[in-house]
Amino acid sequence: MMDLSAEVIRTLDDVLGLGGRSGTFSRATPLLGAVPELDSMAVVALMAALEDRLGVSFPDDEVDGATFATVGSLVDFVAARAGA
C-alpha cells in the first residue's frame, strides 16, 4: 500500500509537471480544485497514466469528482482496483 501511494504521487508529479512539489503531499492533500495544474485535460491524462503504470482501470461508471478530491481518495480508488 505504501508503494502504491508513492507510485500514485510520483505519477501525479510527472503528469502535472509538479517538479517535485508532490514531496509535500499526504493523504489529506486536496487535488481537484486545489492543484491548478489538475485541469480537465490533466485529469484524463492522469487516468491514462495510472492505467498504464499500475494496470488499474478507471471504469467510467465508477469515476466522478470524488475520486480526485484528495490524494487519499485517489490512492484508495486505485488500491481497490490495481494489479491487473
Binding site: 509537471g17 481537484l32 471504469p59 467510467d60
Partner: protein, 284 residues
C-alpha cells in the same frame, strides 16, 4: 550531408499567410523555407486536437524551424475550424482535414518539389496517415506520439468534457449523454470546443494503417520513466507496418507529454531526433 556548393545561407524567417482552400475558405499556414536552394523534402505538419494544439504550438514551431535549418521545406497548416483558419470547429469534418493536408502539400510542392512527408502530432498523425494514403505520390510519415486508433482519441476527448463537469455525475453518465447528443446530430461542448457529429464520427473511424502510398514511417513516442519501452500496442502496430513492407524507425524519447502539460515545456531531444531521423539516408 553538407553541400559544399551551397553557401551557408541565412535562414529565412517563417512566413505566415493564408492558403486558399477552394470554396471552403482559407487556412492559416506558416511556411518555413529551407536554408538551402533545393529542399531535401517537403514536410506538412498536422496539429493535434483542441487544447493539445495550443499547448504544442511552441514545440511544433521549434521543430519546424530546426527542420528548415536542416534543408527541408516545412508548412504548418491550421485545419478547417482550428486555430486561425476559417471555418467553425463545430462544422468541421474529418475529410475536410485530410483535404486540407493534401492542399497544403500541393502548395508546398510548388516551391519544393521534393519527397513529401506528412508529419503529425497525436490526432494529427491520423490525418497525416490518411492524407499520405490519398496523396498522388508516395510519401513518408513522421509521427509524434501516434494514437493507433481514432476511437481512443474520441474517448479521451469526451472524457475531457466529463472531467470539466465533475461534480454533476459520473463520467459514464456524461459519456452516455454526449454520445446520445452526437447521435441525434446535436453538438457537444467540451471544455470550450463544440464537437459536431460529423467530426466525432470521422475521428472515431480513423485508423493508423499501412497503405501503398506510404514508404517510410518515423515513429516517436515520449515517456517520463527512464526504464520505459514502447508500449506493447505500439510495438505490435509497428510490426504490422513492417510486415506490410514499410520501413519504420521507432524511438522512445525521454520527456514530458508537452501537448497536455499545464505549463509550456520544450523537449529538445524530440526536435533533435526528428531532424536526425528525417535527415537520414533515403528521403522517401
Amino acid at each position: 550531408m553538407p553541400d559544399a556548393v551551397e553557401a551557408a545561407t541565412v535562414q529565412p524567417p517563417p512566413t505566415p499567410f493564408f492558403l486558399p482552400a477552394g470554396r471552403r475558405g482559407r487556412r492559416f499556414a506558416i511556411h518555413h523555407a529551407p536554408a538551402r536552394r533545393a529542399a531535401r523534402s517537403a514536410i506538412v505538419y498536422l496539429h493535434p486536437l483542441a487544447e493539445e494544439m495550443n499547448k504544442s504550438r511552441r514545440m511544433a514551431a521549434l521543430a519546424a524551424r530546426a527542420l528548415a535549418a536542416d534543408g527541408h521545406a516545412v508548412l504548418q497548416v491550421d485545419l478547417y475550424g482550428c486555430g486561425d483558419s476559417e471555418g467553425d470547429f463545430a462544422e468541421a469534418g474529418w475529410d475536410d482535414w485530410v483535404d486540407d493536408a493534401l492542399a497544403a502539400m500541393r502548395w508546398l510542392q510548388q516551391s519544393a518539389p521534393a519527397a513529401p512527408v506528412f508529419w503529425g502530432l497525436r490526432a494529427g498523425c491520423l490525418v497525416a496517415a490518411q492524407a499520405a494514403c490519398a496523396a498522388p505520390a508516395p510519401s513518408a510519415l513522421a509521427l509524434w506520439q501516434p494514437p493507433l486508433d481514432g476511437r481512443t482519441v474520441l474517448q479521451q476527448f469526451l472524457r475531457v468534457g466529463a472531467a470539466a463537469r465533475f461534480g454533476a455525475g459520473t463520467v459514464k453518465e456524461y459519456l452516455a449523454e454526449a454520445r446520445q447528443s452526437l447521435a441525434g446530430g446535436r453538438e457537444v461542448e467540451i471544455a470550450g470546443y463544440r464537437l459536431g457529429r460529423r467530426l466525432a464520427d470521422g475521428i472515431e473511424a480513423s485508423r493508423l494503417a499501412p497503405c501503398a502510398g506510404i514508404r517510410r514511417v518515423h515513429w516517436f513516442e515520449l515517456s517520463m520513466r527512464p526504464e520505459a519501452a514502447l508500449p506493447p500496442a505500439s510495438t505490435a502496430a509497428i510490426a504490422a507496418w513492417t510486415d506490410a513492407g514499410v520501413a519504420v524507425d521507432a524511438q522512445l524519447i525521454a520527456g514530458p507529454a508537452f501537448w497536455q502539460s499545464a505549463e509550456i515545456v520544450d523537449v529538445p531531444a524530440l526536435v533533435a531526433a526528428t531532424v536526425h531521423g528525417l535527415g537520414d539516408g533515403d528521403p522517401a
